[in-house]
């Protein structure tokens, strides 16, 4: 029984650690399933299946990573931030697998084909751009790098995740043959997540310029304020 006045901490330290372990296992599942299917011979077109599955999970996890801040602000579950790095790093891991499968298994490292892809095929250019933008983010994801860069620089650098996510959504839209329903759904979720940030940013800058000029500016009320990280 819970005594009145006792706060139930959903995210106590111990519980957080357990949840993180569960999350880690859950995030490994798509890869594990793929390996299982591959070994058991259940994949008719293994390379295609590997490419598609790793790609879609990279995008899904990128969106979940971007959803952390809005959810925190809207619900007050601030400790969600503790899961964000793992989500981001897993997204990058699936991206790396996706890119490697393309390089080694699909294009067989043919310089000529890759060059044509990178110069003439918009969906490849978009995908490659996303990956390149994410490399510095992955490299600076450790505590040590975060400390070395300092919060402000780290945060500024990690805003690269926004163009990266836009590139990822374009990559998906441009590669489908006929029905764009699925990529449009992902793009809409991204638009929502970025739109929320834009709104917060506008309210904040509005308020800032408002206070500079006079006190009776707009932007009052219980609006969310951008935190130290997003």
């Amino acid at each position: 029984m819970v005594l009145p006045g006792t706060r139930i901490d959903l995210f106590g330290e111990n519980r957080l650690r357990t949840l993180k372990t569960f999350l880690f296992i859950a995030l490994c599942m798509p890869a594990a399933t793929l390996v299982f299917d591959l070994v058991s011979g259940a994949l008719i077109e293994p390379v295609e299946e590997l490419t598609k599955t790793t790609g879609i999970w990279a995008l899904r996890l990128l969106l979940v990573t971007l959803a952390i801040t809005p959810i925190r602000k809207l619900t007050g579950w601030h400790k969600l931030i503790r899961f964000r790095r793992m989500l981001g790093v897993f997204s990058f891991t699936y991206m790396t697998l996706h890119f490697s499968i393309y390089l080694f298994l699909d294009r067989l490292l043919s310089g000529e084909e890759i060059f044509t892809d990178l110069t003439e095929r918009p969906y490849i250019i978009a995908g490659f751009t996303c990956f390149m933008l994410c490399v510095p983010l992955a490299l600076t994801s450790t505590d040590r790098m975060m400390r070395r860069l300092g919060g402000r620089h780290w945060q500024r650098l990690h805003r690269l995740v926004y163009p990266a996510a836009i590139a990822a959504a374009l990559h998906f839209i441009w590669l489908v043959k006929a029905d764009i329903t699925e990529p449009i759904i992902y793009a809409s979720i991204l638009a929502l997540l970025l739109g929320w940030r834009l709104r917060v940013f506008m309210i904040k800058s509005d308020r800032r310029s408002g206070t500079k000029r006079s006190n009776n500016g707009s932007g009052q009320g219980s609006t969310p304020v951008m935190g130290q990280s997003s």
Partner: protein, 318 residues
């Protein structure tokens, strides 16, 4: 009195069909073992129709390359009427009704007709034709089709001098074909699915109307009860579940060309040197193999069909 000569015995006569199929299973289980997994395979009999053809003629046009497994042929399909991903057609076409089925052959001809599928099956002698199939998406298969030359059917209706092209149309039936229903963003394609050939392409002996594969009637997901097979063109030309064949004066507009004319043309001849705008056509992945192999001009059928395009710019033949 009719004296029927007994045909010479072939491998098909001495090898029981079930055994023939088991060979594929055996190879697969060998692969699975080699991969270190002693797990039961996920495939079962993905075969749909199960009605066997007897006395199939062999064809000199058949390739002796290793056949793609029946499991792959019947579970990896592009058939947008039954869904967009490769696995959907096998699942969503299970209850598709292919009897009764009529095909109308009409247009620029002296004796147009409507013919039922049973009459087609009894009237035209069926052959086995083992063809390569090259999809525009850069994968390929080797499929033992059962069918007869389209030319045989076209000759019956006596095309007029004005007939220059042939247009084919797939059934429209959103009740049975969920892919034809309106989606969130409208229709996936402008149904019905249409394809076309020039008359001389249609009359070429390689061009097949197929009613079966692997010695049995066509599984629904492969275009039952009757489909086109044009082995030197990308797979989308080989239209499935045909309900009408129309002889025309003018070049018909095929569905994919209407959808994206910068990506898909009328001719769609397999050509490793003309890339699709979004991917290279230089190589293809034979389904069941891990790495890609080079693609051949006209999918390896240049000897039979290259002369059809003399004097035409090969770049325009995509």
């Amino acid at each position: 009195m009719i004296i029927r000569r007994k045909p010479e015995l072939t491998d098909n006569d001495v090898t029981d069909y079930n055994l023939y199929r088991q060979r594929r299973k055996f190879i697969q289980s060998g692969f699975a073992l080699a991969a270190g997994a002693m797990l039961p395979l996920g495939f079962d009999s993905a075969v749909a129709a199960g009605v066997k053809f007897n006395d199939l003629k062999e064809s000199p046009f058949s390739t002796d390359e290793e056949l793609t497994s029946l499991e792959a042929i019947t579970s990896y399909n592009n058939f947008y009427e039954f869904g967009l991903d490769k696995e959907s057609p096998a699942k969503l076409s299970r209850d598709f009704k292919t009897r009764p089925w009529e095909i109308s052959v009409n247009g620029e001809c002296h004796s147009p007709m409507t013919i039922g599928i049973e009459d087609i099956l009894s009237e035209f002698p069926m052959e086995e034709r083992i063809y390569r199939l090259r999809c525009v998406e850069a994968w390929s298969m080797v499929i033992p089709w059962v069918g007869f030359p389209l030319a045989a059917l076209l000759k019956k209706v006596e095309p007029t001098m004005d007939a220059k092209y042939v247009e084919f149309t797939t059934l429209v039936d959103p009740e049975q074909m969920p892919g034809q229903r309106r989606g969130l963003f409208g229709y996936v394609l402008d149904w019905p699915y249409r394809e076309g050939l020039r008359l001389d392409e249609a009359m070429n002996p390689l061009t097949l109307l197929s009613t079966g594969l692997y010695g049995e009637q066509l599984p629904n997901q492969n275009g039952a009860p009757i489909r086109l097979v044009v082995p030197w063109k990308y797979g989308f030309k080989s239209i499935k579940s045909i309900v009408s064949i129309t002889l025309k004066r003018e070049q018909p507009l095929n569905t994919w060309q209407a959808q994206a004319s910068n990506e898909y043309g009328f001719y769609a001849n397999v050509n490793p040197e003309v890339d699709h705008p979004r991917w290279s056509q230089a190589r293809e992945r034979r389904v069941g193999e891990f790495l890609k192999r080079p693609t051949l001009p006209f999918n390896g059928y240049a000897e039979q069909v290259a002369s059809l395009y003399n004097g035409m710019d090969p770049k325009k033949l995509y």
